[in-house]
Symmetry: C2
Subunit: 163 residues, 2 copies
């Protein structure tokens, strides 16, 4: 079972591809899709969309997992993040791949066992759970891997308890 985690942003969209095999987690890919501030928003969104389409085609995940951030942001940021989020959802929707939102607390709980864990703890636990040689960087990539892990933890329960 493979999951693509996405941490959307216009300037930097983090992505992380995590597989669960025989009960073990494995990082297949991870990084950041960066777009230049000087480019037009439409061109930046086209880059993000194309890269996510590429990741979906390459890894064929069963789901796209995203962190839902409704609060703690100003309206301008929410607008920009919403745009990047929109093209990520679109890429998945076009291929009929399920998109699932998790709150920051759900992600932290799944990875660290506490909804109040700090960024450093999340990075450390992502490293440990995926048996990476070093903590995943930058933050956006670590966050994307974390939300993918969160979905893999929740997925068995989701399957047992139909919505």
């Amino acid at each position: 079972m493979i999951v693509l985690g996405i941490d959307p942003g216009l300037a930097a969209t983090g992505y992380g591809v995590v597989a669960q095999r025989d009960g073990r987690l494995l990082a297949l890919d991870g990084g950041v899709i960066g777009t230049p501030a000087a480019a037009a928003p439409a061109a930046r969104l086209a880059t993000i969309h194309a890269r996510i389409e590429g990741l979906l085609a390459e890894h064929d995940p069963v789901a796209l997992a995203l962190e839902a951030l409704y609060f703690g942001q100003n309206v301008r940021t929410a607008f920009a993040v919403g745009q990047a989020r929109g093209v990520a959802l679109l890429a998945a929707g076009t291929r009929a791949i399920a998109c699932v939102d998790y709150t920051p607390q759900q992600v932290k709980s799944a990875v660290c066992g506490s909804g109040r864990a700090g960024k450093g703890q999340v990075q450390e636990m992502v490293q440990r759970l995926l048996a990476l040689p070093e903590p995943p960087r930058p933050d956006h990539a670590a966050d994307a891997l974390a939300v993918a892990i969160c979905h893999l933890n929740h997925a068995p329960l989701r399957e047992r308890v139909p919505a």
Copy 2:
């Protein structure tokens, strides 16, 4: 010169296609792309994206004009609108069609001559400028036609004064 105006929203995206021929404005198309609340956001965004792609293919506009609404909205609304906006920009970006933002004040000024005009005045002036038999409805369609008119008013100046 043909311009596609878009008033993005997840539940209802207004669109208006306006042509300028021999100094006269002409409404070629206008309406609302509605999506059901029961559908998954990714599917709703796919509908909006496909419909806008269809409008671009049919009318081949020189530009996509959008109202930029950064304030007076809460973060949750900004997120939802941002997502719809993202797929609209993407559709234009993929075809290398310029996307231009206008503030609500710019749109009202262009259509009514005053940045403080009310919704009713905007509808009435859009009807008059496009010589429509009745005021354009619903609001989202009227707003989309208004922003397209706004772009047509600004475009000659933009061309004379390179950015």
